[in-house]
Amino acid sequence: MNDSGSLLQVNDVSKVYGTGHTAVTALDQATMSVDQGEFVALLGPSGSGKTTLISIVGGLLAATSGTVTLGDIEVTALSRKDLTRFRAERVGFVFQSANLVPFLTARENLLYVATLVKTPKKAAQQRADQLLEELGLADRAKNLPEQLSGGERQRVAIGRALMNDPDLVLVDEPTASLDTALGRQVVQLLRREIKDRGKTGIMVTHDLRMVEYTDRVFEILDGHLTHVESPSTLGH
């Protein structure tokens, strides 16, 4: 654990894309901490730096400055190779789209990530089947992504993100391609899975209605991250 006792600690993280005239400061000294078991929302308009922040937190993108620690791992100090392992073992991602391997079935998408951390086959199969069951996908297990609806695909992606029992689940606009009712359903499921398993989750969204399912809200505007005390104080 780091000094603050939080699971995730983001300290003064900045990200500048490009150099010279074309340099864009996507993230300006962002600082946040998230406790074990918390499910927080990251809210902000398009282009404000949400994706940039969770990419850095999840070890997908290098920060220009600042540090990120997850438990006792200093993510910002890992080599490229160690980052690949870190992503496989410690992080579960749900991306906005293009989330699943198109030539693997729903169940195989889950089983595949288990091979990255060398989970025994039997155990992986049990876990995949259990997750699919919980996500209401038991009868879609053998379908390819192209044979699934958008909501089903996002649910498979949630199962995939949880498959390796990660410390941190990062979700980027899970509802962007879904209608409101389906979006709610997916976020509810996500919350339940994260809470039941005692995971820590960050969900990027620009949909205020999804905020009610989270414990705390961070808001980001032009790369400046602020902590909003509770969702109800949001004056949008």
């Binding site: 994706t51 690949t84 392992r85 496989a88 991306f95 906005q96 293009a98 990530v113 995939r160």
Partner: protein, 365 residues
């Protein structure tokens, strides 16, 4: 669960077409090189396969054995040239023969058993040792057949079958010089003596046949000697024929390799999005590379099997009149080079994979 296998199962048509296309390209290369080496072999095999270090023609023959005429007495003069350890007459003419029931042109060679100028490439039986025996390449003859020359009427018994010993792409038979002389005289009545066409000679082990051949040319009037490989290269027209075939086969091979390489490059580039996702969720670059490489190896091996099958079937089915044999070394060489070049193309795509920025999976729309 292998990514490579799963993808092939889910995209059977795409991989089927790819395998089919690759196998056709390999087939084309195999068939072309088999046929061209068969043709070149049939044209000059007799000379190439001559069991001798060098050969001597009459000057006026201009390096063409069929046009060369020599007095048999020249053999002793050549044998006495410094560096020559043995010399023997080689004679040849074209005549007709009754081959497996049909009249056909044949090439007849006369040689001395156990002397320079005997044929090589025995595939069955033995070389002739006494009068009335022949070894033959082509014409569908089998051991024990009796072949009658026309118009000489000489009957010859097949005692050996040869491979790669044809001349002028004709069925070619080898007999002792006595039998040859008898048949030649009967075919060309009234000649004072039976001419020989060339003299084959051997040099001491390790000696330079080319230098000895030059000595023969300078010491003996009206003859020109060559080391055997020089003589083969000088056969009129053969150089341009084999060069043309070389270009044809080489070009087919290069085009085939490039096309196959592109196939595999496209195959990878098509998958950059799923590969980016796989990198983002923690797949290492070496593991993706192994996926690509294993698919290439699988496709090339299956395609090679199909191509070899097609080539064997084509060689059986196409009646070119040439003694065509598919060389295992050719198959191996082509398959191994296709594999190597495909993996090189794969390596290019793996370089592309290594450059994938996993972060781009997040923003992917």
């Amino acid at each position: 669960m292998g990514l490579a296998g799963a993808e092939i199962r889910r995209a059977k048509l795409r991989f089927g077409l790819l395998t089919g296309a690759v196998s056709l390209l390999i087939f084309l290369v195999l068939l072309l090189s088999t046929l061209s080496s068969a043709l070149v072999g049939a044209l000059v095999g007799a000379l190439e396969g001559l069991n001798a270090d060098g050969i001597v023609y009459a000057d006026f023959a201009r390096d063409n054995i069929a046009a060369s005429r020599m007095d048999p007495s020249v053999v002793t003069s050549i044998a006495s040239v410094d560096g020559v350890v043995a010399a023997s007459a080689v004679a040849t003419f074209t005549t007709a023969a009754n081959l497996t029931g049909a009249q056909a042109d044949v090439q007849v060679f006369g040689f001395s058993p156990n002397a320079p100028g005997a044929p090589q490439g025995l595939s069955d039986g033995r070389l002739p040792t006494t009068a009335g025996e022949i070894a033959i390449d082509g014409g569908g003859a089998t051991i024990g057949d009796v072949i009658t020359l026309d118009p000489a009427g000489t009957s010859l018994t097949v005692v050996g079958l040869l491979r790669g010993a044809q001349f002028n792409a004709l069925p070619t038979m080898y007999t002792t010089l006595d039998t040859y002389a008898e048949a030649f005289a009967l075919t060309n009545p009234g000649l004072p003596f039976v001419p020989i066409n060339a003299v084959a000679f051997d040099v001491a082990d390790g000696a330079d046949a080319s230098a000895v051949a030059q000595r023969i040319s300078s010491e003996i009037p009206d003859v020109t000697g060559y080391a055997l490989d020089e003589a083969v290269a000088l056969i009129p027209g053969i150089e341009s024929i084999s060069q043309s075939f070389g270009i044809l086969v080489g070009l087919t091979f290069v085009i085939g390799i490039v096309v196959i390489g592109f196939f595999f490059l496209i195959l990878t580039v098509q998958k950059l999005r799923p590969f980016t996702l796989l990198r983002a969720i923690g797949t290492s670059t070496p593991r993706l590379a192994a996926t690509v490489a294993s698919q290439i190896v699988l496709v090339v091996l299956i395609a090679s099997l199909i191509a070899v099958g097609l080539t064997l079937a084509a060689v059986q089915g196409l009646n070119t009149g040439l003694p065509v044999t598919v060389q295992p070394s050719l198959i191996l060489g082509v398959v191994v080079s296709v594999l190597i070049f495909s993996l090189l193309a794969g390596a290019l795509s793996i370089r592309r994979i290594a450059r994938i920025d996993p972060a781009s999976a997040v923003g992917a729309r």
